[in-house]
Symmetry: D2
Subunit: 182 residues, 4 copies
Amino acid sequence: MSIAVIYGGTRPNGNSEKLTELVIQDIATEKIYLRDFNIQPIIDMRHSEDGFQERNDDYNSIIDRILPHDILIFSTPIYWYSMSGTMKNFIDRWSQTLRDPKYPGFKSKMASKKAFVIAVGGDAPYIKGLPMIQQFQYIFDFIGMEFAGYILGNGNKPEEVLQDKVALFAATQMRNQLIENI
Amino acid sequence: MSIAVIYGGTRPNGNSEKLTELVIQDIATEKIYLRDFNIQPIIDMRHSEDGFQERNDDYNSIIDRILPHDILIFSTPIYWYSMSGTMKNFIDRWSQTLRDPKYPGFKSKMASKKAFVIAVGGDAPYIKGLPMIQQFQYIFDFIGMEFAGYILGNGNKPEEVLQDKVALFAATQMRNQLIENI
Amino acid sequence: MSIAVIYGGTRPNGNSEKLTELVIQDIATEKIYLRDFNIQPIIDMRHSEDGFQERNDDYNSIIDRILPHDILIFSTPIYWYSMSGTMKNFIDRWSQTLRDPKYPGFKSKMASKKAFVIAVGGDAPYIKGLPMIQQFQYIFDFIGMEFAGYILGNGNKPEEVLQDKVALFAATQMRNQLIENI
Amino acid sequence: MSIAVIYGGTRPNGNSEKLTELVIQDIATEKIYLRDFNIQPIIDMRHSEDGFQERNDDYNSIIDRILPHDILIFSTPIYWYSMSGTMKNFIDRWSQTLRDPKYPGFKSKMASKKAFVIAVGGDAPYIKGLPMIQQFQYIFDFIGMEFAGYILGNGNKPEEVLQDKVALFAATQMRNQLIENI
């Protein structure tokens, strides 16, 4: 089994990345930093005669990179109690890919994957991050992916998540879970 | 009291817009269609020495337009069980404005406003839209705004929300609430 | 199709009952006021050799009354942001009935029903009642029932819910939905 | 600082109790097993001329036992995606105590305490237990208590929670937190 990590953070070495590094260190992964790419918001053309139009951005190249993998890790800072807008735009575009003849079987391919979420926030993430977890559950349910686990970490200042002992332990456990799956 | 409407939809005359039109028809409002503007994702520079950098996009011009108003209506389709990525990027940027010397008192200015949410989705919005409502509550709590009401409507195909009688009635009630407030 | 209404309120003519009456007036229903019965808390004996023991209370008689019906309406005041403890004890006992040889096929019988929820609370029920709705969804999912609709009403003092125009309209709509189903 | 533990489970040595024991072992605590007491459901008399009536059960004796403590641990199995009906009935009765002249200052006394929650369930508690956590947050917010932490554990069969390594580690951390507070 192979792993792709989709990073939604906008700050290199931010807390969500740091925590994710602990999970995947020394494990081969495909790392995708969404901030390095141009991902346009979806333009909803589901009901237009011509259907969705090419956005001519980097979105498809990211889909091409994640599709071969069996496990997807969504790593995002908690901005305003949800995933980053960057990651949200990436997921919004799935609606387009679901109807894109260049990606036949997109849903069933996604449905064969397992998903993990790693999210770090600074304002009571263990409580105020819960709606985001529920949304990820709905997202994975829709696309048919198994939601195999998540970690909510607490951190605001650089590297602060490294003080969150429960999150660090959960990272170790998720790491073991990944190693068993590979 | 004056009203600004912030539209997060990407399809002109989409269901969330249609429902919003019923709420505000014949009421003077400042209408902001986020899809018509270039809003870059936030780059988190809170912990950098230099602080946030100008993004040179249209974001500040939108802030300039909403600040004079007393009531903000957030109108968004439900994409993947949350607000559109376009609207999320707009809100994410508030973190920058909160630290922007060009916008002194941003938080207290926002805190004097009332917020309404109008959201339409096609996959059981009355259940699966609830985490999004909880997130808006957290967002408004943080910034200090009163969350004065919301409508969740059901609709997928064009104009389908106009069949959702409870949503239409709630629109009438929200409209009355706005008229009383003006 | 026939309808049973399960009332969790402890005050006769409380707000949740009032709102429910608007939904079902002039429709034949089996009305079950849980407060009139002795319903003991479950004693979890799933893992005991002897299994669950008879509690010798009124619980089974209520199950006998709801099983023949096609539609169940759960009508409860929101106490402390959830259904009343009385109603919770009633639902907790389903775990016993699921293993009770006197009720073969309990799950599949329940799974053929449709469920509605009517709940009234006095502290921002449109927001703070949402976790309860999510729990009802999980409950109905587990037992296999369709969650056909819900109303959250606002009311604290006697009859106050009759001022909640959106709830009243939603009651009319739920009523129409029931009439179409009968 | 002193600690009271309120157990909502109905099975001696159930998973939620087991996990709680790990948190409090060798720490002096007042242990209250709700199943050993007769706690009647609330009868809502807020709007009656005569007010609430004595229920002549064991409820007040439990309030007497928790009031002297600084920290309250709510330990409950997750039944049907929420706290046990037994624990819910106990909390529902707070509405009566808030108006009981025999308990002047009940709210402010409760508001000076810290609350912890330990809950174990067998059906995806990390996801489906989240609405319950949100409800505890609302409960503690209302009464003014600090929500100092929670653990969600996974377990169905006896002692199964002892296989949930993240929950066990979180128990160790909560234990340390308690020791620092004493």
